[in-house]
C-alpha cells in the first residue's frame, strides 16, 4: 500500500510541477504550439521592425528580408529591417489576427500583404481550439483547457512545436521569419545566412500590372476583411501594400482569373493602397520550386524586384 501511495503521490507531484511550469511559461508554450503564433513570437523578439511581409507559404518563399533590405539600401534609402510573417497553410482569419496584432507594432512603417487564392482560404483561427461540441467529453475538455495551462498548451508537446519552442527560447531573435523547418533553424543557428549570387539573373526584370474591371461580389466577405486590415494599418500610420507573387504557370494561374482581378481592383479602389500584381510575370524556371512557390534564388531576386517596384510606386514615404 505504501508503494502505491508513493506512486500516486509522485504522479500528483510531477503533474503539479508540470502545471506550474506551464503556468509560468504559458504564453511561450502556446506561441510554440502553432506556426502562426510562433512567427508572431519571433517578430515580438525582433521589434522594432520597419517592414513586415504578411501572407501564405508563397510569401514565405517569395520575400527574403535580407535581399529586400539590401535592395532598398542600394537605392539610396536608409537600411530598413524586415521580417517575414508568412504562415504555411494560412487563412484570411489568421492574416486578420496577425495584422491586427502587429498594426501598432513599434517602428513598423510598411506592411506588405499577399492577396492570392491561398491567402483567401477561410477557416476559424486554429489556436482557440477548445473542444467543439456539447457532449460530456467536449465540456470536460473545455473546462480543462480553461483551467489548466498544461492542457491549454498541450499542442506544444507535439514534435514540431518542441522544435519551435527551442527556437523561441534559444535563438528566436536571430530569425527573420523565412525559417520553416528544423533544418532551417539549424542552418540559421550554425551557418548564418547568405544571399544568392545575383549575376546569373541580373537582367531579369518584371514590372507589376494593375488589376482592373470585373465583379468583386464573389469575394464580398474577403474584401471586407482586407479592407479592415488596411484600415488597421493606416490608422496607425503604417503604409500598406498588397501584392501577388509570381507563378510558374501563368496560363492556369487562379490569380489571373477575372474574379480575383476584380477583388484586387476593388481593394485598391476602397483602400487606396497599391496592389502590385506579379502573377503574369514570365520568370526563369530556376526561380521556382514548384508551380506556385519560388525557389531560394527566385525568392531572393523577386524580393529585390519588389523593392525596386516599391521605390517607384507611391510608397516612397514609407521606404525613404
Amino acid at each position: 500500500m505504501r508503494r502505491l501511495g508513493a506512486y500516486l503521490l509522485a504522479l500528483a507531484l510531477i503533474g503539479a510541477a508540470l502545471e506550474l511550469f506551464a503556468r509560468g511559461f504559458r504564453t511561450t508554450l502556446i506561441d510554440a504550439s502553432h506556426r502562426a503564433l510562433f512567427k508572431a513570437a519571433l517578430l515580438d523578439r525582433r521589434l522594432p521592425v520597419d517592414v513586415v511581409f504578411f501572407g501564405s507559404s508563397r510569401t514565405g518563399e517569395a520575400l527574403r528580408p535580407m535581399s529586400f533590405s539590401d535592395e532598398l539600401a542600394a537605392g539610396g534609402a536608409r537600411r530598413m529591417s524586415a521580417f517575414n510573417m508568412s504562415v504555411q497553410y494560412t487563412s484570411l482569419e489568421i492574416l486578420d489576427a496577425l495584422a491586427t496584432r502587429f498594426a501598432a507594432a513599434p517602428g513598423l512603417r510598411l506592411a506588405i500583404v499577399e492577396v492570392t487564392k491561398h491567402q483567401l482560404t477561410r477557416a476559424p483561427v486554429p489556436w482557440s481550439d477548445a473542444p467543439a461540441g456539447a457532449d460530456f467529453d467536449a465540456r470536460v475538455g473545455g473546462w480543462l483547457v480553461a483551467h489548466s495551462a498544461l492542457v491549454a498548451a498541450r499542442k506544444v508537446l507535439v514534435l514540431d512545436s518542441l522544435a519551435r519552442l527551442f527556437a523561441i527560447l534559444a535563438v528566436g531573435g536571430r530569425f527573420d521569419g523565412t525559417e520553416q523547418f528544423g533544418t532551417d533553424y539549424a542552418a540559421k543557428i550554425f551557418g548564418g545566412a547568405a544571399d544568392v549570387d545575383r549575376s546569373a539573373y541580373a537582367a531579369v526584370e518584371c514590372a507589376p500590372v494593375a488589376s482592373e474591371g470585373g465583379d468583386p461580389s464573389l469575394f464580398a466577405g474577403e474584401l471586407e476583411i482586407y479592407t479592415r486590415i488596411a484600415g488597421a494599418f493606416s490608422a496607425r500610420g503604417v503604409q500598406v501594400v498588397f501584392y501577388v507573387p509570381p507563378m510558374q504557370d501563368t496560363v492556369t494561374a487562379t490569380e489571373i482569373d477575372p474574379n480575383h482581378r476584380a477583388l484586387r481592383a476593388a481593394l485598391h479602389a476602397r483602400t487606396g493602397a497599391p496592389v502590385l500584381d506579379f502573377s503574369t510575370c514570365q520568370l526563369p524556371p530556376a526561380y521556382f520550386r514548384d508551380a506556385i512557390h519560388l525557389s531560394h534564388v527566385g525568392g531572393s531576386h523577386f524580393s529585390r524586384m519588389l523593392a525596386r517596384a516599391l521605390a517607384k510606386e507611391s510608397v516612397a514615404r514609407a521606404v525613404q
Binding site: A10, F136, V140, L157, F181
Partner: protein
C-alpha cells in the same frame, strides 16, 4: 465510449470506488454488471438488449447442458449464437454476393439496401460464449450457477468490445470469490492503462493519418511512400489493438482481475506460426481449440485444416473478399511453413524475422484495403514498375516508425512483466507514466475508434 475518453473515466472512477468499497461479492458483481451495461449502452443502447438476451439464452443452455449432456442442445445454442453474429455481420454481404452471383446467370435482382447496425464487439462476445458452451459440454468446466456471475463474465466492460477473449475457466472462478484489494495490482493497472493510452493516441492515431491518406488513392503513390505507409499501417494496427488490450488488462488489474495477454512482440517472430502465437493470442488459441483441433488438427490433413481455419479467421475479421483472401493466404503460408523444416541456424534468425515481417506486411494490404481494386492498386505500387522514390519523408512519420520499431520491445517487457516495471524507483515509474500521458496529451484531439471495434 472509448477507453481514452473523459466519459469512460467518469464511469471507471465511481465503479472502482463502489467496487472496492463493497464488502459483498454480490454487490461488487452488481456494480460491474451495471457499469458494463452503461458502457455498452453508451455506444448504442438497443444493443444492450441483444447482450442481455445472449446472456440469458447461454446461461440457461449451459445449465441444461450440465443436467444432461446433449450434442443437439450444444449445436442448437451455437447455431443460435453464430446465427445472430451472421445476421448482424454477414447477412448483407452474403445477400449482396448471391444477388451478384445470380446476375452472372442473367437473373437480375435489385441489390438490397441494408442498413443493419453492427452491435459492437459481437464477434468477440459470440466467440466467448461459444467457447463457454463447448467447455461445459466437454465437462472442462461446470456450468455457472449464478446468473450474476455469468452476466459479468459475459459483459465485463474491460474486454467486452474487443477482447481479449477470456475463457470460462480463466475468469469465472475469479468472479465467484471475494478478493481483497491488492495495491500492487492497482498500481500496475494504472501503468498498463497509461501505456495503452500512449499506444492508442500517441502511436496508432498518429500513424493512422499517413495510412488513411495513402490508401485513399494508392495509384498515385511513389514506391517508397507505398512501402513506408504499409509499414506505418502494420505498426498502427499493432499499436491500436495492443493499446486496447493493454488498457483492458490495466482495467482488469484495477478491479483485481487478471485478463490474459493478447500480444507478445509479434513482429519479432521468426516464423508465421510464431507470429500467430504472439498476435491476438486469445483469438489464435480460440481458433486452435474450437476450429483447428475439431477439424482434425495435426492428425490428418493438417494443411487443409490450417487453410480452412485461417480462412474462417479471415471471415471473422470482416465481411468481404479481402478478408477471406487475407485469411486463406495466411493458411497457405502456414501450411507451406509446416512442410519446410525451419533452419536451426541462429544467424539466419534475423533474416527470417525480417522475411516474416515483410510477408505479414504484404498481407496487411488486403486487411486494410476497403476493396480488392484498392488492394491490387496498392500491390501494383509496392511491387511493379515504375519504381519511384519520394525524397520527402514527413519527419513525424520517419521518427515514429523508427521510434516504435526500436522502443516497442522495451514497452512489451514492461507491460508483460510487472517485475521489470517495479524494478524502477517509484519516481521513475511516475515519470514514465507521465511521459506516456504527455505524448498522448500532445497528439490527442481527433478521436478515432479502435480498429478492432469494427470486428
Amino acid at each position: 465510449m472509448l477507453f481514452n475518453s473523459f466519459s469512460f473515466l467518469a464511469l471507471l472512477a465511481p465503479a472502482l470506488l463502489c467496487y472496492w468499497a463493497a464488502r459483498s461479492q454480490r454487490v461488487r458483481l452488481f456494480v460491474l454488471f451495471v457499469a458494463s451495461a452503461v458502457f455498452y449502452a453508451f455506444h448504442h443502447w438497443p444493443s444492450v438488449f441483444l447482450l442481455f438476451a445472449t446472456i440469458g439464452v447461454n446461461f440457461l443452455a449451459a445449465r441444461a447442458q450440465e443436467r444432461g449432456r446433449s450434442r443437439a442442445l450444444l449445436t442448437a445454442v451455437i447455431v443460435a449464437d453464430l446465427g445472430v453474429l451472421f445476421w448482424f455481420k454477414y447477412a448483407a454481404f452474403a445477400i449482396r454476393e448471391v444477388v451478384r452471383g445470380l446476375s452472372l446467370f442473367g437473373l437480375a435482382l435489385p441489390e438490397p439496401q441494408w442498413s443493419q447496425w453492427l452491435p459492437l464487439g459481437i464477434s468477440f462476445f459470440t466467440f466467448q460464449v461459444v467457447a463457454y458452451q463447448v467447455d461445459v459440454y466437454r465437462r472442462e468446466i461446470p456450468a455457472e450457477r449464478s446468473l450474476l456471475v455469468f452476466a459479468v463474465f459475459k459483459s465485463f466492460f474491460a474486454q467486452l468490445i474487443a477482447g481479449p477473449i477470456v475463457r470460462g475457466k480463466e475468469l469465472l472462478p475469479r468472479l465467484r470469490e471475494l478478493a481483497r484489494f491488492e495495491p500492487e495490482r492497482f498500481h500496475y493497472g494504472v501503468f498498463l492503462f497509461a501505456s495503452g493510452v500512449l499506444l492508442k493516441i500517441g502511436v496508432a492515431d498518429v500513424l493512422r493519418q499517413f495510412v488513411d491518406e495513402a490508401f485513399k488513392a494508392p495509384a498515385g503513390l511513389a514506391t517508397t511512400d507505398a512501402w513506408l505507409s504499409l509499414v506505418a499501417f502494420a505498426f498502427q494496427l499493432f499499436a491500436d489493438f495492443w493499446g486496447y488490450s493493454t488498457m483492458a488488462r490495466g482495467i482488469g488489474e484495477m478491479f483485481g482481475v487478471e485478463l490474459p495477454l493478447n500480444f507478445a512482440a509479434p513482429y519479432l517472430a521468426d516464423s508465421l506460426q510464431s507470429f500467430w502465437r504472439r498476435w491476438h493470442i486469445t483469438l489464435s488459441q480460440w481458433f486452435r481449440d474450437y476450429v483447428y483441433v475439431p477439424l482434425g488438427g495435426n492428425r490428418a490433413k493438417a494443411a487443409r485444416n490450417l487453410i480452412l481455419t485461417m480462412t474462417i479467421a479471415g471471415v471473422w475479421h470482416g465481411a468481404g473478399w479481402t478478408f477471406v483472401l487475407w485469411g486463406a493466404l495466411h493458411g497457405v503460408w502456414l501450411a507451406i511453413e509446416r512442410r519446410l523444416a525451419p533452419s536451426p541456424s541462429p544467424s539466419l534468425r534475423v533474416l527470417r524475422t525480417f522475411g516474416v515481417f515483410v510477408g505479414v506486411c504484404l498481407l496487411w494490404v488486403l486487411f486494410r484495403a476497403p476493396t480488392m481494386d484498392v488492394a491490387f492498386a496498392y500491390y501494383a505500387r509496392l511491387l511493379l514498375p515504375p519504381y519511384t522514390a519520394n525524397p520527402i519523408v514527413p519527419e513525424t512519420l520517419a521518427i515514429w516508425l523508427i521510434g516504435f520499431a526500436v522502443l516497442h520491445p522495451l514497452l512489451a517487457k514492461w507491460t508483460t512483466d510487472r517485475l521489470r516495471f517495479f524494478a524502477f524507483p517509484v519516481w521513475a515509474q511516475a515519470a514514465i507514466t507521465w511521459f506516456f500521458l504527455l505524448v498522448a496529451l500532445g497528439y490527442g484531439g481527433q478521436k478515432y475508434d479502435f480498429v478492432y471495434f469494427a470486428f
